[in-house]
Structure formats: structure tokens, C-alpha cells
């Protein structure tokens, strides 16, 4: 092995070591959950976070109170046409469990 090749080998090893040393070490308490590592078996202790957000399926329980009955027969029907009024539901105050992602596995419907 010549001096040149020895020098190249040393430089290569040094560069690789420096690059390795700059990587993020595993941690079970990452500042950013999405970069968590060090997951363990659930039976063996705490798992590092995987970056997934837990689904919140707990709907708030509404309080039932007696309401008043009011009858209205003013709705149109039987015309075969769609009727619409309003500007959407953007202003709704929705206290149902909110989830932008489907929580159920995809399956065939009854069409």
C-alpha cells in the first residue's frame, strides 16, 4: 500500500466517522415526536413515539334536556329536485369528535 492510498483510506474513514457522529442518537424522549426512536415492546416498557397522532374517538356527551315540540310543515317535498339554502356549515360549532381521517377500515358498502 502506497502512502497515497493509505492517506485516502484514512481520510475516508475520518469523513465517515464525522458524518456518523453528526446523526441524531436514539432517544426515547425526543423533542419532536415524529423523530422518536428506541421503541420497545409494549410489554417491555415505554415505546418511543412513532409520530402518529392518536385518534380521538371520544365524542362529548351531550346533555339531554327537555325540549319543546314545534310542528312545521313548511318543507317542500316530492318535487324530485334538490333544494338548498345556506352557505355551508363553516360556522357550525361542532362538539362531536372531530377527525379529518376515516377511523374505520375501508369496506364494501351496500351500494
Amino acid at each position: 500500500m502506497t502512502k497515497t492510498s493509505t492517506l485516502i483510506a484514512v481520510l475516508t474513514l475520518g469523513a465517515a466517522g464525522a458524518a456518523f457522529a453528526q446523526g441524531n442518537p436514539p432517544t426515547t424522549a425526543p423533542a419532536n415526536p415524529a423523530t422518536g426512536a428506541g421503541q420497545q415492546s409494549p410489554a417491555g416498557g415505554a415505546m418511543g413515539t412513532t409520530g402518529t397522532t392518536p385518534q380521538n374517538n371520544s365524542a362529548t356527551t351531550g346533555t339531554s334536556s327537555s325540549g319543546s315540540s314545534q310542528s312545521s310543515g313548511s318543507m317542500s317535498s316530492g318535487t324530485g329536485t334538490s333544494t338548498g339554502a345556506g352557505t355551508g356549515t363553516g360556522s357550525d360549532t361542532n362538539t362531536m369528535a372531530s377527525s379529518s381521517q376515516p377511523t374505520r377500515a375501508a369496506r364494501a358498502d351496500r351500494n
Binding site: 339531554s64 334538490s82 345556506g86 362531536m96 369528535a97 377527525s99
Partner: protein
């Protein structure tokens, strides 16, 4: 997702008891007002499906009617689903089993096996509200929606078919992003029990 008798089932029973099995135009509005008054809609948008009128009414959280539209419903008359029907292939469902169940359902957005975004009404029974799919020409689904009568709107296997534009404009914004409530009014005498109503 099973039909859940709400805590205000008694209230709904009182309101609908004189009209079980019937579908006067005011039924949906009346139910909507009762639901909001009792907080049964949990402060969210909701829909009422009147099977006798073959029509869906979409309401804002405060009970204001957003819009209504004709819908297609299950071929068979009836307010219950055959147990286990959600696990069966379409080809294994007999005509008399093609019902749209009545009751109060906690709806939720989801997808079918084709990846289409839909609103599950009764997940276990595989009943959803979705855009009409005119895949089988002989079924004439679009034509059925277009006619002014409700009698020919019975063609599905149980799902609630909605015109595409109506779904995109009203159903998807109201029920396609979060859990909601869908009330399906019964059409059979005694079917009101699915809404917590006493049998006639």
C-alpha cells in the same frame, strides 16, 4: 356502528308517537327541532332521511335546514337490517333483504373498497350515504332520482344514494369530516321502535 337509542329517545317518542309509520312533510323538520332542543345532535350538523318521501334533509347544527334532495333507498320495505348482512356479498343478498334500516345512527366519514369517500350510516350493516353510482344501466338510478315520485326510488341494497352535486355541496361538508348524526325515519308500522318509539 349500531343504531343507538339516544338519551332523548323518550322525547323523540313523544314527538313522533302520533306519526309512526307516516311521513308527513313536517316529520323531518319536527324531528330536527326536537333533536336540537334536546342536544341529541351533539351540537353538530345532521341529516334526516324520510324513507316514505325518499328524501334527505341536511340540517345545520342549530336545526336550520340547509337543503334537501331526493335519494335512492333500499329496494325492500322495512326498517331493520338482516343480522350479518354487512358481511355478505351483494350477490348473496336477497331482494327482500335489501332494506335501509331506520333509526338514529352516529355517522362517520369513511371509504369503501373502491377508495371512494362516503359517509357511514351503519358501518356494521355496511349502509352508507354516498354519491349515486349509475354503474348498472338497467337499474336506471339517475332516472329514478329525476322523477318526481318516490315510489321508484327503491333500488339500492340498503345504501342511501344522493345526487353527486348534492353530496359534494351539502353532505360532504356537513358529515364528511367528522362524526355526525343521521336519523332515518321508519316507514313500517311499529318501526318507530328503532328511534326509541313505542310499537303501535
Amino acid at each position: 356502528m349500531n343504531a343507538r337509542v339516544s338519551s332523548c329517545g323518550v322525547l323523540l317518542a313523544l314527538l313522533l308517537a302520533p306519526l309512526p309509520g307516516s311521513a308527513a312533510p313536517g316529520d323531518a323538520q319536527r324531528l330536527a327541532r326536537a333533536a336540537v332542543a334536546a342536544g341529541d345532535n351533539k351540537g353538530g350538523s345532521f341529516a334526516v332521511v324520510d324513507k316514505q318521501l325518499a328524501r334527505v334533509f341536511v340540517f345545520k347544527a342549530d336545526g336550520t335546514l340547509l337543503a334537501s334532495s331526493p335519494v335512492l333507498l333500499g329496494l325492500a320495505r322495512g326498517d331493520a337490517s338482516v343480522p350479518g348482512i354487512g358481511e355478505r356479498k351483494m350477490s348473496e343478498i336477497r331482494p327482500e333483504e335489501r332494506t335501509t334500516p331506520a333509526g338514529r345512527f352516529t355517522s362517520e366519514p369513511g371509504r369503501n373498497l373502491s377508495g371512494e369517500d362516503i359517509v357511514w350510516v351503519d358501518y356494521d350493516a355496511a349502509v352508507s350515504m354516498h354519491r349515486v353510482r349509475p354503474n348498472v344501466k338497467a337499474e336506471r338510478r339517475l332516472e329514478r332520482l329525476a322523477t318526481p315520485t318516490a315510489a321508484d326510488n327503491r333500488i339500492t341494497y340498503g345504501c342511501i344514494n344522493v345526487p353527486v352535486a348534492f353530496y359534494d355541496t351539502y353532505v360532504e361538508p356537513a358529515l364528511g369530516h367528522r362524526q355526525g348524526v343521521v336519523y332515518v325515519l321508519p316507514e313500517m308500522p311499529g318501526g318507530g321502535k328503532t328511534l326509541g318509539l313505542p310499537a303501535e
